[in-house]
Symmetry: C2
């Protein structure tokens, strides 16, 4: 088969898959009474828990709006209305009074169906997905106040991360030194790209230094002479002692890889593109792919000890989603056929293991051997996000590769 | 084989196993520099992380002292000295200043090797295992101040649980109603038994009402017309909505079962003995045993949905330890041969899957199919506790059954 017809075949399957996944969430996840989305959805679409997880509320609003903006076939009132109702739910209920010393509020981690706060995490991520939702929604609706609220949230996040974390409410303990955890600069970099994309010089200028800082922080995770991406390092960029220091999360590194690829393209930075591909895409794949059973491990220890996370050897949907985006994007930037070949390998594993051909959508959690271990389609950490983001991005890249977009 | 020779065979294996497990921890876990114990110990005994988990420090002190008191062959200076060094480490480092509104301290969850606090949980369990260590150590050394400190800790715990939890530092959130989580009354009941056992009327009287309250709280977890033990219920003893309400933890119910059996024996309560056996021992075994692959599931949903815990179908060492104690104790109280038969089934699975015949000690985490999934002997939640507690209790019960003890 020619390379082009192979790409065409991928695109066809990916497009069909995306349509099916969107239909699934449109059909089963909307709470028409209170707004927002059910995310605990069983294998056949049944809601098995009504808690509303703020990460997943924000992500679903973002994803609906992004699809609405990107592809003609998703420009449907049904999608826009659900996104607006989700945004309204978040604005009404997600912020709650906080006992932190400095800020007077935090975003909750989970809410009851009708919006009462259940749990608050002492991290920045609920706020990040709230911001993502509001900014993307403002791009669809043209709501300037909403865009402003997203920017104000960003300023608060930068303050928590770079100036003073005390508002997050974590106690300062003498044995708990601050670390550079890869999730934080990755998330902030994603938000910088979200807020600035296509918005002109003023806002780009405002967040330029933060973007550069994020990239520098992410690059500190290249460790051991360039042979490993470690999930947490010291603030000085050194390896931390013990399990925490040796922890690798291949899917997360791959996600960072395509974030860096996007940044390198926006900034015409060829050296960064090289690093993104060799260190954050090829390396985590080499270290993280299970040679015996296929698929990406969830966690690994850089010295080969067994990780202490019980799920370390499971195959989760999202690292495979990140790998698909990363390898296809890397191929599109370089035309290096090795990258396309690895994309194919990940594609074959992913499409033969995760989609549920009976009830639609994807399973999220497989055993090391590739058997479905948890059969729900949505849960506290799996919502309408990684699967459709991967599929929409792959379709978009394939459109460009096949010459259907500029 | 006669019933007696079967029991003799069990005892022989259990005794040998206990000796091997004690040797393993004596050899690999002692920190002779700072006191206390390493608990992150790899399959061959190598320390792979130096963090000290307070639950496991307290449990190891308790277990060493209990073995020292119970069996002549463990009355060794080496064991006593290690227990004392562990107790001293805890007394010196475990309590840390707290930001809670009422108490001015909390016990840390984890410490650096040299005792600096790394993490504090907003629950009571670090304090519980601290208390367990101090009380048992005071029984060996005769240190009355230490016994007093354990009692003061108990009074603080009862205050947090029954009067005012604000000192634990959890924010009060409108969607997070207080619940009756089985771990709490189980833990307090265990502490009441610890503090009062053999200590005379005054202290027994002091904690009598708390003991009765704990039993009542535990019995609230019998739900659905007596067909399920649910891990969390409302304060009024009703089933909670969603996943939280439907969650079953068979190993935990079995542990509660033998706690209740002990209580029923101490209080000559035959009705409670019946309930303990039928509802907390036989029922969780029926619901929790994997008919296909053997072994006890970690978590189950009472309506048959897939639990959201990624490890739900794994076979962990400790539920099997609890099941062995529960069924053997139930058999010893009743002479009902069905209970001995189930003990045999659990025994066969346990001894053919968990012990490591190459490097000693037990693996802790198997896949649903019974393959070793995490190969370390100790980790953040597996220390010198469930395995030796199970083995020492089974040996003790078998001694009585075989007429070697009164």
């Amino acid at each position: 088969m020619s390379a082009v017809s192979k790409l065409e075949e991928y695109r066809q399957r990916i497009r069909t898959e995306l349509d099916g996944v969107v239909d699934f969430w449109l059909k089963y996840s909307h709470d028409t009474k209170h707004g927002g989305f059910f995310t605990c959805i069983g294998k056949d679409g049944k809601v098995y828990d009504e808690l509303k997880y703020v990460w997943l509320q924000g992500r679903q609003v973002w994803m609906y709006c992004r699809l609405y903006r990107t592809f003609e076939r998703f420009r449907k009132p049904e999608i826009l209305e659900a996104a607006k109702a989700g945004g309204a739910f978040l604005q009404r209920f997600a912020r709650v009074p906080s006992s932190g010393t400095e800020a007077s509020w935090k975003c909750a981690f989970s809410l009851t169906r009708d919006g009462k706060a259940v749990k608050i995490q002492r991290t920045i991520f609920s706020e990040c997905f709230y911001l993502l939702a509001l900014d993307e929604l403002s791009r669809v609706t043209g709501d300037k106040d909403m865009q402003m609220e997203a920017e104000q949230m960003m300023d608060q996040l930068i303050h928590w991360v770079r100036v003073d974390p005390s508002g997050l409410g974590r106690p300062q303990l003498p044995g708990d030194k601050p670390t550079n955890s890869m999730a934080v600069p990755m998330m902030l970099l994603c938000l910088v790209q979200q807020l600035t994309d296509g918005r002109g010089q003023e806002v780009a200028q405002k967040y330029r230094e933060t973007g550069t800082w994020c990239v520098k922080q992410i690059l500190q995770h290249v460790q051991r002479g360039g042979t490993a991406i470690l999930e947490s390092v010291s603030l000085e960029g050194e390896e931390l002692p013990g399990c925490q220091g040796r922890l690798q999360n291949p899917g997360h590194a791959l996600e960072a890889g395509w974030f860096l690829l996007q940044f390198s393209a926006d900034h015409d930075d060829e050296e960064l593109q090289q690093t993104a591909i060799s260190k954050f895409i090829e390396l985590p794949y080499q270290n993280g792919w299970d040679k015996e059973h296929g698929g990406l491990f969830y966690f690994l220890d850089a010295d080969g000890y067994c990780p202490t996370q019980l799920e370390w050897n499971m195959k989760l949907w999202w690292p495979h989603c990140e790998a698909l985006v990363a390898f296809l994007m890397a191929y599109s930037k370089t035309q290096n056929s090795n990258l396309l070949e690895t994309f194919s390998q990940v594609y074959n594993y992913t499409f033969s293991h995760f989609p549920d051909t009976v009830n639609g959508e994807w399973f999220g959690y497989l055993t090391q051997e590739g058997k479905v271990a948890l059969d729900f389609k949505g849960g506290p950490f799996k919502g309408f996000f990684h699967v459709p983001r991967c599929l929409y991005m792959c379709e978009w890249i394939l459109d460009k590769l096949l010459g259907d977009k500029d």
